[in-house]
Symmetry: C2
Subunit: 215 residues, 2 copies
Amino acid sequence: MLNDNARRLQEVNDTLVKMSELVGTAISLATQALLNDDLSLAEQVMSGDDELNGLNADVEGLCFKISTLQAPMARDLRMVIGAIRMASSLERMGDLAVHIAKQVRLRYPNPSVPKELIVTFAEMGEAASNIVEEIGQVIATGDPALASKIAEYDDVLDRLHRELFIAVLAPTWAHGVEAAIDVTLLSRYFERFGDHAVTVAKRITHIAVGPTFSE
Amino acid sequence: MLNDNARRLQEVNDTLVKMSELVGTAISLATQALLNDDLSLAEQVMSGDDELNGLNADVEGLCFKISTLQAPMARDLRMVIGAIRMASSLERMGDLAVHIAKQVRLRYPNPSVPKELIVTFAEMGEAASNIVEEIGQVIATGDPALASKIAEYDDVLDRLHRELFIAVLAPTWAHGVEAAIDVTLLSRYFERFGDHAVTVAKRITHIAVGPTFSE
């Protein structure tokens, strides 16, 4: 049974890595869709989300099986509980990519982002893609040392988010209320994406080095 | 050991009920702060959030102990895994109340919401308070039949969210870009609050009637 559980824990880990890959694809396509007003890419992001939701349920099912067969020991149990939380975060990151894609569809064939902000959103998309690539590596290796870069990319997202706020509130803003709201929400989706990545990174640290709560 | 775990499962449930009470207080105070531009209430919401975060960690610690002592049986295990997810959702609902409170602080002593939208936000606050009260009862009783009202209140929140979008995009909107963004974000916080409540209600159904994923 021990071997069964060791195998299942590996499967949980592989599923989380697979989720991070799918999230990476989703946020990269969503960004391209946003920058190029590409409806077909946006729809690809939306239709791809089911697979992520399915993998989230798979992680929970595997963790359920692991806990039924044998009470796992400390580190394994931290992995089981942590995996449930991380799968939630990754699934939510996929949802945020879908929110971006839906915004593209809503405004199509008009552009979702004014020209002068394209560069800022391209940078956000790059930071978001980088952050989820790091997440995949951190999960695959279980090495929290790799997690430090995640905070850096998150700082980039937070800075760009503030810059976009300043841009839409500037007296020079010439695109009206609707575009201002679009930009604010889009920017918030990227910023929340980064927050979830940070949550996942913290969880990997927690699994590797032990709990911060009393047990 | 069985008795220990039965006692701990009850403690998990009690903690989740306590969390829903604190979330109820938080969203109610945040709404009052918003409607009356009351900085002191807003600060109360912010300082109260630590307790919620602590209870979220407590739920995880209890679930950890339960799983260490003895592999729980099917329904208990669904409760353990479900409790971890529900505690996350409740903690996030508390964060959303804090976001509303921070918005009040940001604009203080100016009003956060234009006068003509006060009634709409009052309705949102009422629906949000109602939804979290139902959540507390559903968790306390474990009765998914009570969960049906939650979907109704969530529909109210979604409808009001759409109404606010229409209001800020109307040609009659006279409050500029900044106020439009404020209203949009505030409205989104209430709407997301409802989404999380729906997630909790679904989880209670899952615990009571069994899994939808293969096990």
